[in-house]
């Protein structure tokens, strides 16, 4: 009972469908060369154009469908179709254009389509690789749990550092204060902080252990292991945020450009009928 993912859903049903659609479109394109040449206004062009437009609307409908929890069927099937038919549709739209590009609303529409599709491909890639990495990074922990534990180690470390010489106290306090975890989107996507104070403090601590009293030495060892643990917690939290950001940020292109695409496409159709 191995379950399927979005690619091999129902034994590659939509992959097969997409291949068939592409083949038919290509065949039609190669066999019937209209008298006016290949371009959107030929009867073949109209046909392919209408089909692409319908499919674009259907693709966008996925955003609604996946939130209509009371509908029947599987969202997974919809996404599988979304991916494969979306790709097929891009080929059809390209054929529809007859490779005529220029500085006009028509090519703009096509450009927007490419952005949506490209971001979709990135999304696919992200969905394929990040979930596994996230699980490997987090295990059963949650991000909130990690942040809580970091806050706890902070408290503990500061308390111990108070009993240490000033130089040690300073770097520990600085590390606790200046470590930032995914503050900006850029930082989230990058997944690390340049010159991360949490890493620096661990390095510095190794050299600062020199002139300690016997009593302080024991605390020092504790502090060191706390800061090491803290560093790895911080790293894991950043990684998690990074994966989340990378798995989500492409949607900031995919969705707004979908809206732009729909608008441009409507304009493109109106332009054809009224101003040709």
């Amino acid at each position: 009972m191995q379950h399927s993912n979005i690619f091999d859903y129902k034994n590659y049903r939509y992959f097969k469908l997409a291949v068939i659609v592409i083949l038919i479109a290509l065949l039609a394109f190669l066999l019937f060369e209209p008298a006016v040449g290949h371009y959107g206004g030929s009867w073949l062009g109209y046909g392919l154009g209408t089909l692409s437009a319908a499919m674009v609307f259907w693709m966008a409908w996925y955003g609604i469908r996946k939130r209509r929890y009371r509908s029947r069927g599987n969202t997974q099937g919809w996404l599988s179709a979304h991916i494969y038919l979306g790709t097929a549709m891009t080929v059809i739209a390209t054929l529809h254009s007859g490779f005529h590009f220029g500085l006009n609303i028509h090519s703009l529409t096509y450009g927007l389509l490419l952005i949506v599709v490209t971001s979709g491909f990135f999304g696919n890639y992200a969905y394929m690789i990040y979930p596994r990495l996230m699980t490997e990074n987090m295990g059963e922990d949650s991000l909130d749990g990690l942040l809580l534990r970091i806050a706890e180690t902070d408290k503990l470390a500061r308390q111990i550092a108070l009993m240490m010489p000033d130089d040690i106290n300073n770097i520990v306090t600085r590390a606790c204060r200046e470590t930032s975890i995914g503050v900006s989107l850029l930082e989230q996507l990058r997944g690390f902080q340049p010159d991360c104070p949490s890493a620096t403090v661990v390095r510095q601590l190794t050299v600062l252990g020199g002139e300690l009293s016997l009593e302080q030495r024991k605390l020092y060892r504790d502090l060191y292991s706390i800061m090491v643990r803290r560093e790895s917690l911080v790293k894991r939290a950043r990684q998690d945020l990074m994966f989340r950001a990378r798995m989500g940020f492409w949607l900031y292109f995919h969705v707004p450009f979908t809206v732009a695409l729909l608008t441009a496409m409507v304009a493109h159709v109106i332009a054809i009928f009224f101003y040709w």
């Binding site: 979005i6 209509r68 929890y69 009371r70 596994r132």
Partner: protein, 838 residues
């Protein structure tokens, strides 16, 4: 309120002289809960001289202990109330107020702070002893002390260590200790507070806050926490307790917290987990019980009289878990004591039940007819029979009607009053057995909780009584003879199913009579690899794993569920046991001795053939699995130990062994979009029933916090209005008669039940969705909190929305039978029942 000083004074003077002459009453009522109060109020009406004794300083302690602002519900809805003590569904505060007013108005003769500790029968009267040593006597005593008396024990490994206690008598006795208090109710919190200052105290609370506590406790608790003298862990449950051989702390508590398992080394554990009925004390009063089990109820006559003459028992203690029932019994018991015949209040309900069956006769008459037509029912007393019929359905079936189908999940039990039915076990359409009036059926599913093993179809017009499993279980627990008979029949049925379809009636009876029923705790071995074969084991309830030692490691090869058998391999081959068989959860198995089995095999070539085929199939399966294991093993150095065998062991640990359907999340696909939870909430009154984020992970498979639909749902055990049911396809669901008592939440070992307010979510329109507006909820009334859990979307076409809403196919539902193939990639288990899936 009437002053009750007089008896005390009498007491004092007499004890000075050394002779105790207890103050005498016609009637003493013990316990001022709803039942006792109702009896007292009615006794006042009837001018009976009586005294009501209450251990606490105020009436109705159980109700007083409900959460503040709880809506007290008046179930069962159809039952009329016939006592002068008023009661309708209302807020806890209102109910208590009304009762206080009634107590004042009727000048109820109650004595508070009077805990009864002893009760004896002497020649003329009953003698009642109070905690302060004083004695009272009465002609009649009504015992209505409810079931909140006996403390619940920790049911986890190490729960019986000497450092664990269930009471705190003297907080001053402990100094400088680390003490773990388990339980976030008032008693736990009060104990914890009393220990702070001199000790390090940690409270483990399974809820997410302390909202069940009294205001005063809550504020003291938050104070203490702020000052740092006390610590708590929320949503935390103890898992096991281990003894430490070295170090400062004698024991370590392992607790599962939202952030994983926490180890807490400590000196002492104080567990305050609520209460169980106080059987020992009642037995010391001389009250007889119907069976040795702790759950058994006291023996009662139709007039609530116990085995001690003139001692009556009513209310929750008598086994009637709802307030309304108790109040009615308070009224009835006074009438009985006065010698007045009263028609029990539930007669109206019974009459309704009998509406289309013998409606021309009186209720008592019909009950008698029922008792006479089914011999099994002759073992019940009148009260038990009434209870059974009240909780059951009377079914009228035409010839050809199907009562249940093979592979259905229903667990009700049927008694045949009139008519005849066919049983169809295999697919050939020909009846494999017939059932006649006076017989019963459905006992196997009752025992195993698994799917129905056959189809039952009426062959003539029938009248049947369909009884829920819970009610039967209660009766079996208290009526020994009934349990014996049902056990015998269940053994015969399982033998018949597993090996006997082609056996002669004679052989079948012979085997069944000589088979032994054995019980195993989770983890216990049925037999061990290399043992001499002692026979064939038919799994009656529970499930087992089959494992072998491979490369020094115990590798699980198979998972076998109830309704199947294990142990045929050595029987066929004559060699020692090929593998170890271990109970995955508490399991009952029927053992047929090797000698007898060989004898049968020799005489029945058909059975021999079937066992042989099984044997070969098993060998093949195991060989495949072994290959797989070793293939995994050679790669094991790289990854975690994620062999299929380890995955099965992990899933069984997560309760999948007793599950019938479990939600898993493949974390290597899950994109953390949370659509599964949103879909669930959207279609289930705004409260999601799964927690995707919580739950253990193994080899990328997470078992999220979501109902497993256990074959014997623990949650059903203790539900006062019996609101939890099992649908034919196995879904365990809670209906709208839930009174929000929280028992199921406590009883579910997997923590999947929450208390929530449900309000239907309107479906957002297209525009609202496009613009991201939340649809306006229908005027949000603050309804009562009720128990909610996954119902497997049984009322939604196409099934579970969590699975269907997942865009990437990471959420999946698995039945344990499919587990193995899911984890490993082979098929099959020992069965002659044919495929379990449908």
């Amino acid at each position: 309120m009437v002053t009750t000083l007089a008896p005390n004074i009498v007491q004092k003077t007499s004890s000075k002289t050394g002779i105790v002459t207890p103050k005498h009453f016609k009637l003493i009522i013990i316990g001022a809960g709803p039942s006792g109060l109702s009896a007292a109020v009615h006794a006042t009406e009837q001018n009976v001289s009586y005294l009501l004794l209450e251990a606490e300083e105020a009436p109705a302690n159980t109700i007083r202990n409900y959460q503040r602002g709880k809506l007290v519900m008046a179930e069962p809805r159809g039952l009329p109330l016939r006592s002068p003590l008023p009661f309708t569904a209302a807020l806890r505060e209102t109910v208590l107020d009304t009762w206080e007013k009634t107590i004042a108005e009727y000048r109820v003769n109650v004595r508070y702070g009077a805990k009864v500790v002893g009760l004896r029968r002497n020649t003329k009267s009953l003698e009642v002893e109070l905690a302060d040593g004083s004695l009272l006597s009465a002609d009649h005593v009504v015992l209505a002390v409810g079931v909140q008396g006996n403390l619940r024990k920790l049911d986890i490994p190490g729960g019986d260590l000497p450092q664990i206690q269930y009471q705190l008598d003297d907080p001053q006795a402990y100094q400088e200790e680390t003490i773990v208090v388990i339980g976030g109710g008032d008693s736990g919190v009060e104990n914890a507070l009393a220990l702070t200052g001199r000790n390090q105290v940690i409270i483990l609370n399974r809820a997410e806050d302390f909202s069940n506590c009294k205001d005063s406790n809550l504020s003291q608790l938050t104070d203490a926490h702020m000052k740092g003298v006390l610590d708590w862990l929320l949503e935390t449950k103890p898992q096991s307790i281990e003894q430490n051989s070295t170090g400062e702390f004698p024991i370590t508590v392992f607790a599962s917290t939202p952030n994983g398992v926490e180890r807490i080394p400590c000196h002492r554990v104080i567990a305050r987990l609520g209460a169980l009925p106080s059987r020992a004390q009642l037995e010391s009063f001389g009250i007889g019980f119907s069976a040795p089990d702790l759950e058994a109820l006291p023996q009662l006559s139709a007039h609530y009289e116990s085995s001690v003459p003139s001692l009556y028992i009513i209310g929750a203690l008598a086994g009637y878990p709802l307030i309304k029932q108790g109040i009615n019994q308070g009224y009835e018991v006074i009438e009985y004591i006065l010698g007045n015949p009263v028609e029990p209040a539930d007669n109206a309900l019974l009459r309704e039940k009998f509406a289309n069956f013998c409606s021309d006769r009186g209720v008592e008459d019909v009950l008698e007819k029922i008792r006479k037509s089914v011999p099994l029912l002759a073992m019940l007393n009148t009260l038990q029979l009434r209870e059974l019929v009240l909780e059951s359905n009377i079914l009228l079936a035409k010839a050809g009607d199907v009562i249940f189908k093979r592979n259905d999940y229903s667990t009700t039990f049927y008694l045949i009053i009139e008519g005849e039915l066919d049983v169809l076990i295999d697919d050939d359409g020909a009846p494999d057995a017939t059932l006649k009036a006076g017989e019963f059926f459905g006992e196997l599913a009752l025992v195993s909780g698994r799917r129905r093993a056959g189809t039952v179809r009426a062959s003539a017009p029938c009248v049947l009584i369909e009884t829920p499993r819970r009610v039967m279980q209660k009766l079996i627990d208290s009526v020994q003879s009934m349990r014996r008979i049902l056990n015998e029949v269940a053994i015969k049925t399982i033998v018949h199913l597993c090996i006997g379809l082609s056996l002669s009636e004679e052989d079948l009876n012979d085997v069944a009579n000589n088979a032994t029923l054995k019980s195993y705790a989770a983890g216990e071995e049925l037999f061990h690899e290399g043992d001499e074969a002692d026979g064939l084991y038919l799994i009656q309830s529970g499930s087992v794993t089959v494992s072998r030692l491979i490369g020094g490691r115990e590798v699980v090869l198979l998972y076998v569920a109830a309704g199947h058998y294990v142990g045929e391999m050595s029987l066929v081959s004559g060699e020692p046991r090929y593998a170890t068989v271990r109970a995955a959860i508490a399991t009952d198995a029927v053992l047929i001795e090797a000698g007898r089995m060989r004898d049968i095999i020799a005489r029945n070539p058909e059975i021999r053939g079937e066992l042989d085929a099984r044997y070969l199939q098993h060998l093949q399966d195991q060989e495949n699995r072994q290959q797989l294991e070793t293939a995994f093993d050679s790669k094991a150095s790289i990854a975690t130990q994620s062999t299929p065998s380890n995955l099965i062991s992990f899933l069984i640990q997560q309760g999948v062994g007793e599950a019938t359907d479990v939600l898993l999340i493949d974390e290597s696909l899950c994109v953390r979009c949370n659509h599964c939870e949103q879909a669930c909430a959207d279609t289930h009154g705004g409260a999601t029933r799964l927690d995707r984020d919580a739950g253990p992970i193994f080899a990328n498979i997470r078992v999220p916090t979501s109902c497993r639909h256990c074959e014997h749902p623990h949650c059903m055990k203790d539900c006062p209005p019996d609101a939890i049911h099992r649908a034919p396809h196995g879904e365990v669901y809670i209906d709208d008669s839930c009174i929000g008592c929280g028992n199921c939440q406590v009883n579910c070992p997997y923590d999947v039940i929450q208390m929530a307010v449900i309000h239907d979510q309107p479906e957002p329109s297209l525009w609202q969705m496009l613009l991201g507006i939340k649809p306006k909820s229908l005027a949000v009334v603050d309804g009562p909190k009720v128990a909610v859990k996954c119902d497997m979307c049984k009322d939604i076409v196409d099934g579970p929305v969590c699975v269907r809403a997942c865009p990437v196919g990471a959420a999946l539902r698995v039945k344990p039978e499919e587990l193995l193939s899911y984890a490993g990639g082979t098929s099959g288990e020992a069965t002659l029942l044919g495929s379990d899936g449908n």
